[in-house]
């Protein structure tokens, strides 16, 4: 099979644009072969073979199988629609019962006779912790990806890349537990130090206690999304055409100049997509943040004092004692989270789809 065309099936099946623009694309054999069985009528003036072809059956195995696969494909769309419908259906009664403004009220007490809850502080905490995590993770992740793809010896790079992929599979609850039991000590020391010398900055101000803060949550989150961003951007960096790199080096570029002029521009869409996927993961992370944040309600930019909360962490924490309205309120907050992540994901995917060569690596 040495001569088999690389990805030959692509042209005939997946690349919709290609098939639409050419009548008979190179790999469209699947379609040609399918014709005699199902669509061509016997005796028609189509391809050769004429009346010798078997008649198309209305309820054959071919149609049944095609219908089955179509149903499975449609199921994906149905599931996404069902998620939205059921969340809305359960959220609306709770939102009706809410006696405060859902968007601006700072607090979460939906289980009382006068339910009061607001999404503002939670959405703020979600966005703040995810943004901080990305701010810390992205430069480091890109550095590691460049190290693995262009600095490390080839075998070491492959082995470490394998290790990074493994780390991406470690469950979030493990990181949460580690953050709460181990990592909190250095972070608390660091917070105290920051507070002592940089306390005049509002983000490092406050009188304590320190530790279970937005900073701890964001750091744990950063460590969690690090392998994801690294593994995706490493693959993109490895895809850079060798000709581009060698051309840059031949023109006398240093290694960094080669990375800056050949590798990074080529990988930019892939980097953006990796960052967006990391953002999606960070926004939806639940258990690690439920274990590491201080769970308070209030909008504050202070990073080191105990506090902070996110939509997902609040769902995990408040679910245990929620009554019916409480559940509805949590579902309403989940709906907001679903919308935010949907927007982030659709944007990321739209960016990837613009450069189709990256779709394979960004699974």
């Amino acid at each position: 099979m040495g001569e088999t065309p690389h990805r030959s099936a692509d042209a005939g099946t997946g690349g919709t644009r290609v098939t639409q623009s050419h009548e008979w694309p190179a790999g469209a054999s699947a379609r040609v072969a399918e014709a005699p069985v199902s669509t061509r009528s016997p005796g028609g003036d189509g391809l050769g073979g004429g009346g010798a072809l078997p008649r198309s059956r209305k309820f054959g195995a071919e149609r049944a199988f095609r219908g089955l696969t179509l149903a499975a494909g449609t199921a994906v769309l149905v599931i996404i629609a069902a998620i939205a419908i059921f969340l809305i259906a359960k959220a609306v009664p709770a939102l009706r019962a809410n006696t405060e403004n859902f968007w601006s009220y700072e607090g979460w007490s939906p289980n009382e006779t006068q339910p009061k809850f607001g999404i503002g502080t939670l959405a703020f905490g979600t966005v703040l912790s995810a943004a901080l995590a990305l701010l810390m993770a992205v430069p480091v992740a890109l550095g590691i990806a460049l190290y693995l793809s262009h600095y490390a010896p080839r075998r070491l790079g492959t082995a470490l890349g394998f290790l990074v992929d493994l780390l991406a599979a470690v469950p979030s609850v493990v990181f949460g537990l580690w953050g709460r039991d181990i990592f909190i000590n250095p972070v608390r020391d660091f917070s105290v130090w920051l507070n002592e010398y940089f306390g005049w900055l509002p983000i490092f101000g406050g009188d304590g206690p320190f530790g279970k803060s937005i900073m701890l949550g964001a750091l744990v989150l950063a460590i969690m999304v690090l392998p994801i961003i690294t593994s995706l951007s490493r693959e993109v960096f490895l895809q850079t055409p060798t000709a581009n790199e060698e051309a840059a080096l031949a023109l006398g570029a240093t290694r960094w100049e080669m990375l800056r002029t050949a590798v990074l521009p080529y990988g930019r869409p892939g980097i953006i997509a990796a960052v967006m996927l990391g953002l999606g993961r960070a926004l939806g992370e639940t258990i690690a943040l439920a274990l590491t944040l201080g769970i308070t309600f209030g909008i504050s930019f202070n990073l080191i004092q105990n506090g902070g909360n996110t939509i997902a962490a609040n769902i995990a924490n408040a679910f245990g004692e929620a009554n019916e309205t409480g559940r509805g309120a949590l579902i309403a907050s989940g709906l907001v989270l679903f919308t935010i992540t949907l927007i982030v994901n659709i944007t990321a995917r739209a960016i990837i789809y613009r450069r189709r060569e990256f779709t394979e690596s960004a699974a």
Partner: protein, 362 residues
């Protein structure tokens, strides 16, 4: 320049030294590092603003600055940039390795404490706050059943969906399905848990349970399958695309209908890759906590029936023990975490090794 020329005159130069760019000697970088650390130690301990960690951090910054200055003076600005960025990229690597090593070390050292037979043979039933025993048998049963059911649901659905996308679908509809599979990859696990809560636990399960909503392991399996589906569809889709067209064409030429070609030729050829994707999806699902917390409820006793009553899972067990006030709870949590990570990593490594043996590699 004269100094370099004289120093090279003793041995015959391979090429005229005036053609070579001047370079920092090999000992320059370590020397700058030592000097930077010493300077930073003097600053930190002199002004008493921190401990050894600050010495290292400040030393690293001073090293970068010193390296840039030295290289700039000797080799020029471009080379100085190159050296500084190279050092930054290497330090990013070191920076990221530290916490990850700490995670692994803690996991192994703390998890080994309760890693005994009792832990794997008992449940948490009748284990009070003062009991040092207790185990995760019920949680392991829960994880296996939930992930097993989720796999049973997802694999046929996902493979058929991928077959539709690759073999049958065309035009806008197939593109929409492909796009939304990708979007589905990013649905947070807690949202999938809420969806199954709103759909199965609150709406459907009362029909089977005298009108009362009921948590169950099966509901957790449903939530996990929402998370597994996109992973399986994407990996299967990629593998199907890698099947060489001549294989299909050969089958068509023999007059085999398309559905039989797909089931007998295309899917078996792509099977190792499909299995790899399924195993990766299982590994991801086994580690999910949030959906199980919302729809399976968790429980202390062994419940082998996934369709009735609360069930626990390993990840949920970790979370619950982490929130437990008993002084024996952390040890149980860490051991369960070690078990979970071992399970997930074995699956992942097996999947990756299988992927390497795959003949349809890219």
């Amino acid at each position: 320049m004269t100094t370099t020329v004289t120093s090279h005159r003793t041995r015959p130069p391979a090429q005229p030294s005036s053609l070579r760019a001047r370079r920092l000697p090999g000992y320059a970088a370590p020397a700058i590092a030592v000097a930077a650390l010493a300077l930073s130690a003097v600053i930190v301990y002199g002004t008493d603003i921190g401990g050894p960690v600050l010495v290292v951090v400040l030393g690293a910054i001073l090293y970068l600055a010193g390296l840039f200055a030295a290289a700039n003076a000797v080799e020029g600005r471009r080379s100085a940039r190159n050296r500084t960025w190279s050092a930054l990229i290497h330090s990013a690597f070191v920076l990221a390795v530290l916490p990850l090593v700490s995670v692994v070390w803690t996991l192994v050292s703390k998890g080994a404490e309760r890693f005994d037979a009792n832990f794997f043979q008992t449940s948490m039933n009748n284990i009070g706050a003062r009991d040092p025993n207790g185990g995760a048998y019920h949680a392991i049963v829960g994880t296996l059943e939930q992930v097993g059911f989720a796999t049973l649901i997802t694999v046929p659905l996902g493979v058929l969906c991928a077959i539709y996308i690759v073999e049958y679908g065309r035009g806008k509809f197939a593109f929409a399905i492909r796009f939304f599979v990708d979007v589905m990859t990013g649905i947070p696990s807690i949202v999938s848990g809420l969806f199954v809560l709103a759909f199965w636990v609150l709406v459907v399960s009362p029909w089977f349970n005298d009108g009362r909503p009921s948590f169950s392991g099966f509901a957790a399996a449903l939530a996990l399958s929402v998370l597994m589906l996109p992973t399986i569809v994407r990996s299967t889709e990629e593998m199907l695309r890698l099947v060489p067209a001549p294989l299909r064409e050969g089958a068509y030429a023999l007059g085999i209908p398309k559905w039989k070609t797909i089931l007998r030729v295309v899917v078996p050829t792509a099977l190792p890759g499909i299995v790899t994707g399924v195993m990766l999806a299982i590994a991801r699902a086994a580690g999910e906590t949030a959906p199980v917390l919302l729809v399976a409820g968790g429980g202390a006793a062994i419940n082998t029936n996934p369709f009735e009553n609360n069930q626990s899972s390993l990840s949920l067990f970790v979370y619950q023990q982490a929130g437990d006030a008993s002084k024996y709870a952390p040890a149980r949590a860490w051991t369960a975490a070690l078990t979970l990570v071992a399970l997930v990593l074995i699956l992942t490594i097996a999947a990756k090794l299988l992927a390497r043996r795959n003949r349809l590699s890219r």
